[in-house]
Point group: C2
Chain length 359, copies 2
């Protein structure tokens, strides 16, 4: 019986700091800013913001003003940019917390500078080929007279180094230089870091890679995994051949098997699509014993086949492991037919974890 029935999310702050140090030195002398939007990808904006601030980061990106206000408490003198811009009722909030919006349109930029309340110089996002947010080159002259503190764009295919859109976006981005010759430029997020120095400009924006996601899937992973996710075993039972396990009776046993039910599910951000290819592991004396998922992931539970794990080891076990340094976010994402980014964000939003920050 476990001490607690809640699953446990262990966040390795040392690894996050090491990832930051590695990436910062890799891009030096370019500024290494940190992206802590989405509650630091779910890991806790205050906790992770503090780790990165103490590691020397002084430029941060968040998505919303509310995230910026949380971050401000642990990064008192940092520059904080807000990627989604700002709404017209949010000016006071931005000023109070010294937040700089990243403005996506000409109209937003003109309106921002019209208001004398808006003291801090903002960034402007420019369109180079992602076709998501940003001012197109053909419109840029309308705002060229404004004192932006940063010109920013974002790559669409940075995880595919040979994709032709990369060089296209690079060339498009350079065309904005003539309009803002003395303003810092930033094109690359984690993915772009490894495309070469030409993509770094004055500042890179480190996000996913800080948190151990492999943004260089075509080569050896350059960063360390930062999370361990374990779930208490609530019950181990023997199920007979011909019986099914889980909702919809989608999984029928062809022979008698030993099934463990663990306390975690899609209510904790574990996608239903983790079944049927996902694998849990029992870690014992540094050895890892795989236990494939059987049946569907339900809201609070996952069932897995532990028949191949020696009885003596199983009897002592408290937890099954879902994510660790060997079975990391990227591997987990593949099993769910998605990417590590979405897995981290989804798990990170879980409200029922016992969270431990280790260093």
């Amino acid at each position: 019986m476990a001490k607690h029935t809640r699953p446990k999310l262990i966040i390795n702050c040392k690894h996050i700091r090491e990832n930051y140090a590695y990436l910062k030195s890799y891009v030096s002398p370019c500024i290494a800013s940190c992206v802590v939007k989405d509650n630091a990808y779910g890991l806790g904006i205050r906790e992770i913001g503090q780790v990165l601030y103490q590691a020397g980061c002084r430029v941060f990106f968040v998505a919303y003003g509310c995230e910026g206000a949380q971050l401000r408490k642990v990064a008192p003198d940092a520059e904080i940019y807000v990627l989604q811009g700002y709404g017209h009722e949010e000016s006071a909030h931005f000023q109070r917390n010294n937040l700089r919006p990243v403005l996506p349109t000409v109209q937003d930029a003109l309106r921002y500078f019209e208001s004398p309340r808006n003291r801090l110089t903002p960034a402007i996002q420019v369109e180079t080929g992602l076709n998501r947010l940003g001012v197109h080159l053909r419109e840029i002259s309308a705002v060229r007279h404004l004192p932006f503190s940063l010109i920013l764009s974002h790559l669409a295919c940075a995880d595919e180094p040979h994709h032709s859109l990369n060089t296209h976006q690079l060339e498009e981005f350079k065309k904005f230089k003539e309009f803002f010759p003395n303003t810092p430029f930033s094109l690359s997020a984690s993915d772009g870091v490894f495309l070469g120095r030409a993509y770094h400009f004055d500042m890179v924006r480190l996000g996913a890679a800080l948190y151990g996601i492999n943004t260089k899937p075509y080569a050896e992973k350059p960063v360390k995994n930062c999370i361990t996710l374990v779930a208490p075993i609530l019950q181990i039972k023997t199920v007979k051949a011909g019986e099914s396990v889980g909702y919809g009776a989608t999984y029928t046993l062809s022979e008698k098997r030993k099934i463990a039910t663990v306390s975690i599910g899609y209510g904790d951000g574990i996608f239903r699509s983790f079944s049927p290819t996902g694998i849990l592991h029992l870690i014992h004396n540094n050895r890892s014993y795989p236990a494939p998922i059987v049946g569907r992931v339900s809201m609070d539970n996952i069932t897995c086949d532990v028949s191949n794990i020696p009885e003596a080891i199983l009897n002592q076990a408290e937890y099954m492991t879902l994510i660790d340094d060997s079975y990391d976010l990227d591997t987990f994402g593949q099993a769910c037919n998605t990417i590590g980014y979405e897995v981290l964000s989804s798990i990170g939003h879980g409200t029922r974890y016992i969270r431990q920050y280790i260093d």
Copy 2:
């Protein structure tokens, strides 16, 4: 320009109350308990717990002790059952908050009653064919002498009324009657309510159906949708034929189109798998204008094709709608190749929504 850049989640408490009243009267005189685990499926355990308590509910189910403690504040004299049982370090917490564990194994039951600290009578879960949690019939005599307050099991295929496992589980469940002739029995959750009175026993456990999820997919939906989800439009741009939209450049335009970028993404629990079949809507004067997603869902943004929406309407628009009474959780779930339950839980965990409770 929107007032705020954050997406908005509107929760209709009146509909939740009406769903409860309808289901309660449908199962009467059987007890209609409410399942508010997973933070009331993400909608807020305090807010929704209070609505249901005021509507007369006096028996609740949560998954964890921490959820029970939150609920206790708004349901002072209700019976609160904890579905995942309890860990051996959680006894004091359970006692302090008057929580009753639902025990899954013989060992858990014997241990619970061994400790004089554990005052409240617990429930026991019994295995009838889901093969997830619960004591098998062949083991039950070991605990038949214990004073449980509830005997509980759970159906695997209740959303498929003709599935043979339903009658099998029903018959298996009845076999436990001989061991506990005077204890209340509960087999059905929302799905089981519509399988007929034989499945109701003494108490049904209403969860998904309360929140507007159709647990009767084979027939007309018996309950009302309870959530509306809208996202601010940050930018509308014209994209030329031959250009791509979004990450991976997976979507290339065959002709010039108008693309809107809205402020919501997988960081808000909108699955990446919502692309490419998902549709957003612009609601204007009670008319709904569809805008299909183009390109991938990213962490903070979704791009959709608004070319077919009249210019005059588009120019006034502040929000695109993702979920409402017409395009509900079930429809959304189908577009993501999953179920409404997972969509609701995922969205409900979003931390960046402006949440409004309406009545």
